[in-house]
Symmetry: C2
Subunit: 699 residues, 2 copies
């Protein structure tokens, strides 16, 4: 594996090794030397002769032995030259700690670094990072001076400064790591590369990551799925910051207005099977449960407590987290009654009563662990006068060691419960200050059971698509210098891509409008065509159910209204098509392009109230059929599609097909910046859907 | 004050004092003697002569001195006799620790206790409680063996077992209390009484409570408002368990189906100005911020950090918590530049950079504290190699002591940051493991600024209401043994209470239907009348826009459909009224009675999709106009009422009046168990509303 040179080098050169205490170039040599790395270490510093009892070299070439990894701490501008030298020396891995690249606007310098590494097949971490730690071989090639214990968590961080806080906090909680990587600017190596590597890393059971920005969604999703849906599935837990960064508020489409940048990430994580956490606390809570427990067989939780109030609070959080309270069988209840006074509560939560000593907890845990209706156990303890803190903790540890079911604990209190907590922690029982954390983390663990089993469906594939015709329309628009395609151009694009559209015509005069309507011979819908009007209804630019004989007068009225409401709008005419009579529900289907991730697809309740109810769901192109199904399942309006309250069942299949068609359209025409199909009328089951209105914005 | 006998007794008798170590009756005497209570202590135990060097008395009467408070630990059945004796002795307060009352079904015994105390004007805490602690006079009249430090938090708990956990955890966090009360079964003294007392308690600045069930909402709301909206407003923070307790799922109304028990509590807290927390962790987070900080002037937060990632994470939580990131003025930026390297980030969050020592933090805090655009400050610190933990903490403490603005801190890490955290904690700076907790708590503190200022409006008052006519309808229904009033009875009830209803008639044959429609002379709406059908549309029991000439055939069709769909339903006829032509939006207005709290009122989007979108808000009767306004403001459909997307502005005023009318109706006719007005058609502004359909269920 290419990244072995980063994590398992037999020899490391530190270019920019410094004799100055407190300097990063000194810290790294010290961390390698003092924290137990057994390979060869070559400090490179032309001005020094010795550093921590090691010989210093004036440059890389001066090192005669083979070097696997270069850790580079020289000033940013010198990095390309150092990498060239490293390439000459056939070094296979480089960690560039140095800053001064993309993060301060030096895009060219960063590109040089990337190109050299790419050309010479050097695996590159950074630049602008804290470094890499591999506790397995005690290699601390970073300037954080903590060597975490061996563990099964691979941690990937886009923030170097957060790494030191994570390492410090993890040490306090007895959390170990398999790999610890500060990825910095990700000039060459990204999370996707690490995912591919970690999928085969036997030491890694769980992957945790702190993320600020990701790129190339398709590659990332594919790599993440190797981890989360592979033969030996590994959960990936992500903390993503920048949730509130300003969205595309000045957008020309509904989709653009509703799809903030975070919606794209939310979709990315969902489609990858990545578990998203909201806070650092939650990240640690999840990590503790994931590292110490097997996946439960199901979602039924037994709660054991010595206090009623905390029992009820735990029940609340179990249910709110999406888990179920296990139903305790009569046989189990009878067993429990042998050990617990009869006036206790044998319905879940099982109240072992305030005067419970360790033996009562022990009996309850062992009995419930054997109950087939119990998938996992939360043990809650509060300090009462008879409570045995250490002995109860030991009983939990013993039960946990024998059991394949998740058993987690919450000892609520301060100094009194502290010793018990320490015993639990040091013996691999996940323990939490409060039961709500336990329930939430347990719920994530239980969910992963379903995530890893999800079918990894193939992508949609549609044939008989007339790309030539579409290209013609787009080119014509390009020639006119037009990026916003009006309905008259947008609808044909969709038509040629197999979307069911209505034949429609544009009228520029009342007379023309009358003639078009007469030809249609039925009631029509009239809509204003203007590049400056997004909200047609608001501007008075929509008339429905107009009889052919009233179309001419309607045209004049509409012009008057629109000119009054939006005096500056350039008006290109009125779009006229047959009024659809069939009953259906108006949905919206749209897309917006994110510069780094790609196209976000949105589906939801459409019509005039789309922004009132915001009942929409997001996905990231390309979508699998499973992704599209999950998007629609998230909608409240799903109930309407399913025929809620005695209404007609609608054609959800046809809607899903449209979602897929849109996903493929965006792959074929990536220069579509925004797209809105609104409304997309979903007709009764078997009757399909109809595109009633659409607009496309090109890059 | 009556409760002074509970909190400030000069002498205490413990009836049931025990010589047996580990017995509750021994613990209480020990806690009183050993933890510093300076008043007189009289252990009552006929079998003992001495206890902890105190003389024992065979019974209360044997005590010659005056006794202010009786703490009772005898078996439940003996408690009434002891209270009788206490009454004879003119004891003014009693804490009944003993169990065996309502909680095990002994309602009679509990009533005896209540009656004796009520009759003899004895303030009663309990029964079935842990006791009372007043750190001010070192009185620990409980069996929890922790004496918390003096503080400004009054803690009220409905769970005794939780108390010990809270005391232990609070001690670890250096949190003190002004009063600590385990209320037990609340036979006589409830939270409302404590609120009334604490409103005048100078030692109490914040009230915290753990609640499982509350009763008598009107009294509780009134008492809570004395605290939260009084002259000297004190925040009340409540943790309510049982959020997920099964609601009234087999309900006969939409309101009943949607208004779970928790919706009533949510409304109760909102109307009282009580701040609700979801978890024990949040309770402590809020308490720490509320006790140590003044209320901020506004919602603009400055974040100071030595790490980019945590800075972004903090920004996220600041905004998601409903606060704003302060805009830093140029003047302030220039000040900052004198102390912080120029390549730092001077836009909020202010990044003092990874190599920041205490002086840089100190300068940043002091400069930002003086900026008029900054209302509060969050200081974030991660352990980097140059970080000065203690000195930075000291700098924060010094700034906090000089400032009136809230300043809170989050030192993220483990052992490295620990000493800093201890310094902050012991000097009254609220500190959090993670910045997300800080932001959320700060947001609650900021919100309280608005809560306490809210106008305490008076209740709705309507005149010209025909209660006599309503009583006649209700009595007739009672005589028929009918609790579910059909439309033909429900609509007149509403009509006589001033709701705008449509004249409507019931037809039992096609011929009758035809005649009614002919008389109306316009298109009509037809709806099935059956006590067994809630979802009329689903059953085929609704026809709209029927021309008079088609009504007879419509009648027959409807009968056929309904009989097919709901063969067992008893059908009473078809309700016919004029079809409303005006454009409006269908809302729902309803109520459901909760056994302990009273009537929950629901308003929201109505029509057939009420349970699809669940866009509803809840209130608790009686409502003030401000309560009703706030309910409607919570709805997404508020945008529709306001004329979203170019639609007509609707008559929200008339809707609010209806909400108020319903609140008063429920006060006047408390035996209404459930009520649904669906749809309530809200017409364009000035045109009012129309009740199109309704049903009432009586107790």
């Amino acid at each position: 594996m290419k990244l072995d040179s980063i994590f398992y080098p037999k020899s490391i050169a530190i270019i920019g090794a410094s004799t100055e205490i407190g300097h990063v170039g000194n810290d790294i040599v010290k961390n390698l030397v003092k924290q137990g790395y057994k390979g060869k270490i070559f400090p490179v510093n032309p001005k020094a002769t010795k550093l921590y009892d090691l010989k210093c070299y004036p440059n890389i070439s001066a090192i005669k032995s083979k070097v696997d990894l270069a850790v580079i701490v020289v000033p940013g501008g010198v990095v390309p030259a150092v990498l060239q030298e490293a390439a000459k020396k056939k070094i296979k891995g480089a960690i560039v700690i140095s800053a001064g690249f993309k993060e301060v606007g030096n895009l060219d310098l960063e590109k040089q670094v990337k190109d050299i590494c790419q050309k010479n097949n050097i695996a590159l971490v950074g630049p602008n990072c804290l470094g890499v730690i591999n506790p397995e071989n005690k290699m601390n090639a970073s300037f954080a001076n903590i060597m975490p214990p061996n563990g099964n968590i691979a941690f990937i961080s886009q923030s170097g400064a957060l790494c030191t806080a994570i390492l410090d906090y993890a040490q306090k909680l007895d959390i170990g790591f398999s790999k610890f990587v500060s990825v910095g600017n990700k000039a060459l190596m990204s999370e996707a590369d690490l995912f591919n590597y970690l999928a085969n890393d036997k030491k890694t059971k769980v992957v945790a990551m702190y993320v600020e920005q990701l790129t190339n969604a398709p590659a990332l999703i594919a790599a993440a799925k190797k981890l989360t849906h592979g033969k030996n599935p590994k959960p990936v837990i992500a903390l993503k910051s920048g949730r509130t960064s300003a969205g595309a508020s000045a957008s020309a489409s509904h989709t653009g207005a509703l799809a903030g940048n975070d919606a794209a990430y939310e979709a990315l994580f969902a489609q990858s099977g990545i578990i998203r956490v909201e806070t650092i606390q939650e990240l640690f809570d999840y990590l503790r449960v994931f590292t110490h427990n097997e996946l439960p067989k199901g979602d039924r939780v037994a709660v054991i407590t010595n206090a009623g109030g905390p029992g009820v609070l735990t029940t609340d959080t179990v249910i709110l987290s999406g888990l179920k309270m296990a139903t305790i069988s009569d046989a189990t209840k009878n067993q429990l009654k042998k050990h617990i006074p009869p006036f206790a509560n044998f319905k879940n939560p099982i109240d072992v009563l305030g005067d419970a000593r360790a033996d009562r907890y022990e009996a309850a845990i062992n009995i419930l662990e054997k109950d087939k209706n119990v998938d996992s156990i939360i043990v809650v303890l509060t300090p009462q006068s008879m409570t045995e803190f250490s002995k109860t903790a030991q009983a939990i540890v013993a039960a946990k060691m024998k059991s394949k079911k998740p058993i987690v604990a919450s000892f609520i209190g301060g100094h009194l419960v502290n010793l018990g907590i320490k015993i639990l922690r040091s013996h691999g029982v996940s323990t939490f200050n409060f039961p709500e954390q336990a329930a939430k983390a347990l719920s994530a663990l239980t969910d992963f059971r379903y995530i890893k089993k999800e079918k990894n469906n193939s992508h949609f594939k549609f044939k008989n698509i007339n790309k030539v015709a579409i290209n013609k329309i787009l080119e014509a628009s390009h020639k006119r210098g037009q990026t916003l395609l009006p309905e008259v151009d947008s609808l044909p694009v969709l038509h040629h891509y197999g979307f069911p559209t209505l034949p429609s015509h544009i009228a520029t005069t009342a007379q023309e409008a009358h003639e078009i309507a007469k030809k249609i011979g039925k009631k029509v819908a009239m809509k204003i065509v203007s590049p400056d009007i997004l909200h047609k209804t608001d501007s008075g630019g929509v008339m429905l159910n107009v009889a052919p004989e009233n179309v001419a007068i309607g045209f004049k009225e509409m012009m008057k209204k629109v000119k009054k409401n939006v005096p500056t709008a350039k008006i290109e005419g009125v779009l006229i098509n047959e009024m659809i009579k069939e009953k259906g529900v108006e949905m919206i289907l749209g897309a917006v392009k994110d510069a780094s991730l790609g196209h976000t697809i949105m589906v939801g309740l459409g019509g005039v109230y789309v922004e009132v109810f915001k009942d929409v769901a997001f996905g990231l192109a390309p979508l699998t059929k499973n992704d599209a199904l999950k998007m629609i399942a998230k909608l409240k309006s799903k109930n309407i599609l399913d025929g809620a309250r005695g209404q007609t069942v609608l054609d959800t299949e046809a809607l899903i097909e449209c979602v897929g068609r849109l996903s493929q359209l965006l792959m074929d025409f990536p220069n579509i910046k925004e797209l809105d199909i609104n409304p997309l009328l979903v007709l009764p089951k078997g009757d399909g859907v109809k595109v009633l209105d659409a607009r496309i914005v090109l890059e």
